[in-house]
């Protein structure tokens, strides 16, 4: 199993995609710091202080979760897109083990992507504060919480991405389907059931509870985490069941 997970990392590390994605995230991180930094102290935004670093670091959290989701989806669907799945299944005919290795590898890859992005954000943010003559406090409990939640979110999204990719397999359909689900279907379902007590169990609502923790009608962070991870595992299980029987032509 370890060698299959290592093989997944080798696949990820030997094409340019992950480096491009990390670079894109870093660029966004810098822009987010600039946006937050220039807006601070204007129009009712709090002024910069020694405690501002968590605010900077929180900037790219949602986007990095999305990137981790993308990573997971492409980690499975990309193999079908490029037909490398034939070779993968020749080496490991037990298809369930292949999906299991991806379920381990892609959450870790998502966490690594989140770590590098947050590190860039923190460095640029600290630099911005230093330029304003403010020494940021790094031993801030809020900072630790923002980073922890970001890593949790990225890991969960990587897991769910693998589940979506395993079930849908077609790269374009998986990506478009995910967007349509998040932007349209869940909203419709929410309106249809018209009961927050039910709607909060839907995937994006559970993800929001786990990552942004909006409170209100949402689940608690722990419940959101478990529910969202459950969706990922259920999708992966269903996808694996189909994949084991499906012909690779």
């Amino acid at each position: 199993m370890t060698r299959l997970v290592r093989a997944e990392f080798a696949k990820l590390g030997t094409t340019r995609f992950i480096y491009g994605l990390a670079a894109g995230m870093a660029v966004f991180a810098v822009l987010a710091v600039v946006a937050v930094g220039t807006a601070a102290g204007t129009q009712g935004n709090p002024s910069l202080s020694a405690d501002s670093l968590p605010m900077f670091v929180a900037g790219p959290v949602a986007l990095v979760s999305g990137a981790a989701l993308l990573l997971g989806i492409l980690g499975v669907a990309g193999e079908f897109r490029h037909q490398t799945i034939s070779q993968t299944f020749l080496v490991t005919p037990d298809r369930g083990r292949v999906v299991a290795a991806k379920l381990v590898a892609y959450p870790l890859a998502g966490i690594a992507l989140a770590l590098t992005t947050l590190a860039v954000t923190a460095a640029v943010g600290a630099g911005w504060l230093a330029a304003k003559g403010i020494t940021p406090s790094l031993l801030d409990a809020r900072l630790g919480r923002v980073v922890g939640v970001a890593l949790l979110g990225a890991g969960l999204c990587g897991l769910v991405g693998v589940g979506v990719g395993a079930l849908v397999r077609n790269q374009v359909a998986a990506l478009v389907g995910t967007l349509v689900w998040v932007l349209v279907v869940e909203g419709l379902l929410m309106g249809l059931v018209n009961a927050p007590s039910l709607g909060r169990w839907l995937p994006s609502a559970a993800a929001a509870a786990a990552i942004t923790s909006p409170g209100g009608a949402h689940l608690s962070r722990l419940a959101g985490t478990l529910v969202f991870a459950g969706y990922g595992l259920a999708l992966a299980l269903a996808g694996t069941r189909l994949m084991v029987r499906r012909d690779i032509t």
Binding site: R3, L4, R6, A7, A10, K11, T14, T15, R16, F17, G78, H82, Q83, T84, S86, Q87, T88, F89, L90, V91, T92, P93, D94, R245, D247, I248, T249
Partner: protein, 299 residues
């Protein structure tokens, strides 16, 4: 001893019967040519043998076990599938190292097999820029990664230039001389005729024949080419005697499986004028075409 055993193998895709009750064997240390026109079911058969496609019925076994039941499949069986199944953005070397990692093989095997197929110079180039011939070589390198005793190669000569085909023949011979069993598919008999010990010919998913190459050569026909101004009259006359003769140009006939004596006597009895008559022999390719087209017409 049979290393590869296909028994009653059948695959139905919806309404299409891609492989129909196919049975054949490949013995240890032999090169078996798996031949048939495009769409005959070769790729489907090989993918069933490799556990990628599930048979509708029947079995495909390697050393008595299904591919999925092998302990270390890559060390046991090497496979070349179609040349498109590489990530275009990954280098040849990294493609092999990924497979080696998953199979638990030393990473140094990647460089060893690249050397073996003559791709060492292109090792660090991305596969997206490879020619079809280079992809085929990389596919062969992938098949050899685990140093397997059984090789299953789907159309390895596709996209190779004449020099490449020549290289491939020597390469396959060398693998067989090392005691390996090779099952190699092709839609062109000539590509493999100089290399194979046995041929398995299929058409429309069904077995046409399994025989040694020598037995197949013995089936080449005696042909008689006749130049006559009364081609149609002679054709009808021969047909009445059960001899097939096909027009070949305005005043020529090609009579199949007969002798110049027979044609000459027949022409004399009917008073047909003959300008010229030569005995010819059909080649292997004709036999192949004849065998596969008969099967195709019957389905």
């Amino acid at each position: 001893m049979a290393v590869i055993t296909i028994q009653g193998l059948t695959k139905r895709f919806g309404d299409v019967l891609a492989v129909d009750d196919l049975s054949f064997e490949a013995d240890q240390g032999t090169v078996v040519g798996f031949l048939g026109p495009n769409g005959a079911g070769k790729t489907t058969t090989l993918r069933m043998l490799l556990g990628l496609v599930t048979p509708t019925s029947g079995t495909a076994r390697i050393d008595g076990r299904s591919y999925r039941a092998l302990d270390a499949p890559v060390r046991h069986v090497g496979a070349l599938l179609e040349a498109s199944s590489f990530h275009p953005g990954r280098s040849a070397r990294n493609h092999l190292r990924v497979a080696a990692t998953a199979a638990g093989l030393p990473l140094a095997r990647a460089d060893a097999v690249l050397d073996q197929v003559g791709l060492a110079d292109a090792a660090r180039r991305r596969v997206g820029g490879f020619s079809l011939g280079m992809r085929q070589r990389l596919g062969l390198a992938t098949a050899l990664l685990g140093d397997p005793q059984v090789l299953i190669l789907d159309e390895p000569a596709n996209g190779l230039d004449p020099e490449g085909v020549h290289w491939l023949r020597g390469f396959l011979r060398q693998l067989a001389d090392q005691g390996r069993t090779v099952l190699v598919s092709s839609h062109v008999l000539a590509e493999v005729a100089q290399t194979v010990d046995q041929v398995v010919i299929i058409a429309s998913g069904r077995l046409v024949t399994q025989s040694t190459l020598a037995a197949l050569t013995a089936r080449t026909d005696q042909l008689v080419r006749v130049r006559t101004p009364q081609a149609e009259a002679l054709r009808a006359l021969l047909a009445a005697q059960g001899i097939q003769a096909d027009p070949d140009g305005a005043d020529q006939l090609l009579a199949v499986d007969t002798t110049t004596e027979t044609v000459g006597k027949a022409a004399a009895t009917a008073g047909i004028v003959i300008y010229e008559m030569t005995a010819e022999r059909s080649n292997l390719e004709d036999v192949f075409l004849q065998l596969t087209s008969q099967q195709g017409a019957g389905s």
